[in-house]
């Protein structure tokens, strides 16, 4: 069957819900009230309309939602959930349990700022705070990537048995409607066969227990196995991304999407929807003679060290755009990128721009202003300062 996309004008949240539907998820456990989004609302609608055969478990908190997802996934089912900000924070303990139990749950998180002060706007600190839970993290630039990301996430997660978070920006993606090329069910099924679980609680001939104690004599080896699975995941992500491109024309074989790298003096590096703005701005800057490029980090975990090194080798500077902050240090992607390069000896000059926190508007004009600043840094070879609170009212 030839691929003819089904074009739908949907929000990022609906793109996520349709992807879950097309991935034939069997169980959805979710907390249905704020900060829940229309992702779960849409899925509930699919079920109510008889469009989906999904076991939906509404629970009393996000902690319980993830706990129910873990139980369902341990029976071998394909499981989906969604949350945002404070809800994700409440899940924290269970995120460790999901990854530690090696259950390939896929969750869409809507990036929203952490309170206080209350905010419902875009900010990456919620998901980046879950960095060390053992989940993979994919940051979507647009609604199409939300849809594609969920479908690919199941294939990758179920191959390496690591749960995966697909992350979309609040409002900029979650509530903004745009055309998404969806895939006919038959072709999704060909791409994404039913899950083959590593173990299942419903194999009554071979009963097992999960969640047991491991003494210091055994715990260490299980941690190593998770680390190894993340390394393996890099290869799987690339091959699944390539396969997706061959089947559906949208290639995801690179964990970092780049543009204008070859002759660029410096690149903008960032994650999520803000990179859409950057790509637009870089096109304009190129016309004005600026030798700039971009590096959009799609996968934050596992971290694409090798691809970053290739980029770093070909540029003089990297302007990191962090829509997040680790208090007492710096922007989180900045720390990661510097750390990844340290032992390679390849060290382009790097500056961290803190942008868009709590949904502060980040526009093409801002990218241009940052380009102007970064150009000075690269030309002089000197950092005036490492961290720039770009929007600060002075």
């Amino acid at each position: 069957m030839e691929y003819n996309p089904i074009k739908k004008v949907v929000s990022g949240n609906y793109a996520a819900a349709y992807a879950a539907l097309h991935a034939r998820v069997q169980v959805v456990a979710a907390y249905p009230i704020t900060p829940q989004t229309s992702i779960i609302e849409k899925i509930a609608e699919f079920i109510a309309n008889g469009e989906a055969d999904i076991q939906y478990i509404p629970v009393e908190s996000e902690h319980s939602a993830m706990a129910a997802c873990i139980g369902a996934s341990a029976t071998g089912a394909r499981v989906f959930t969604a949350t945002s900000a404070q809800g994700l924070a409440l899940m924290h303990e269970m995120l460790h349990w999901a990854a530690g139990s090696r259950l390939p749950i896929v969750m869409v998180n809507v990036n929203r700022a952490m309170a206080p002060p209350w905010s419902v706007w875009d900010d990456q600190t919620d998901s980046l705070s879950q960095r060390d839970t053992g989940w993979m993290q994919f940051y979507a630039e647009n609604n199409q990537e939300v849809y594609d990301g969920v479908l690919m996430a199941y294939k990758v997660a179920e191959t390496v048995n690591i749960p995966t978070m697909i992350i979309e920006s609040a409002f900029i993606l979650s509530h903004t409607y745009e055309v998404v090329n969806m895939i006919p069910q038959e072709l999704v099924d060909e791409f994404l066969p039913p899950r083959k679980p590593l173990y299942t609680l419903t194999d009554f001939e071979n009963p097992i227990a999960v969640g047991a104690l491991a003494t210091p004599a055994d715990y260490y080896e299980f941690r190593y196995k998770i680390a190894k699975a993340h390394e393996e995941a890099k290869k799987v992500i690339k091959s699944v991304g390539k396969e997706f491109g061959e089947r559906f024309g949208r290639d995801y074989s690179k964990m970092i999407e780049t543009g204008y790298i070859e002759d660029a003096d410096f690149v903008f590096m960032g994650m999520g929807s803000l990179m859409g703005t950057v790509k637009e701005a870089v096109d304009l800057l190129r016309k004005e003679g600026y030798k700039v490029g971009y590096a959009k980090v799609r996968w934050f975990r596992p971290f694409p060290k090798e691809e970053l090194l290739e980029i770093a080798e070909s540029v003089k500077g990297i302007a990191v755009l962090d829509r997040n902050f680790s208090f007492g240090q710096e922007g989180i992607l900045f720390t990661e990128a510097k750390g990844a390069l340290y032992n390679t000896g390849v060290r382009p000059i790097m500056k961290d721009y803190i942008v868009g926190l709590g949904g502060r508007d980040f526009t093409v004009r801002d990218v241009k202003a940052i380009a102007e600043d970064m150009k000075k840094v690269v030309e002089s070879g000197k950092l005036d300062k490492e961290i720039e609170w770009y929007h600060l009212k002075r």
Binding site: G100, S101, R102, N161, L198, Y199, I208, A209, V210, A212, A214, A217, D218, E221, F222, Y224, K225, A229
Partner: protein, 105 residues
């Protein structure tokens, strides 16, 4: 045999993987835990006085381990390999047939 788990307990062998490759990919149990003699944890041991026992089996029902079993003669007995000495049985016994005795090891 004078034990709760009979043959299974006798045949249970500890599983000790020697290299990382011998471990399962996910932390799931590979066998039963009967090799772990949790009786080592005990400070007080329950001792049954059969002259007071009325075979109500409340202790048998309440034992959380479980480490209490019913013998062929109908009286209860304790498998000290697993009894942690929590004292719930002594507390629940309606005829005070179980006393907790400090163990010298």
């Amino acid at each position: 045999m004078n034990t709760l788990f009979g043959k299974a307990k006798e045949e249970a062998k500890p599983i000790t993987p020697k290299s990382v490759d011998e471990y399962p990919e996910a932390p799931v149990s590979l066998g039963i835990t009967l090799v772990n003699f949790t009786g080592d944890w005990r400070t007080f041991m329950p001792v049954i006085d059969e002259s007071k026992c009325v075979k109500c089996y409340i202790c048998w029902k309440y034992c959380p381990e479980p480490a209490i079993y019913i013998k062929e003669d109908g009286f209860v007995a304790i498998d000290y390999d697993y009894c942690k000495g929590c004292g719930i049985c002594a507390n629940e016994c309606p005829t005070k047939a179980i006393t907790m005795v400090r163990e010298e090891k």
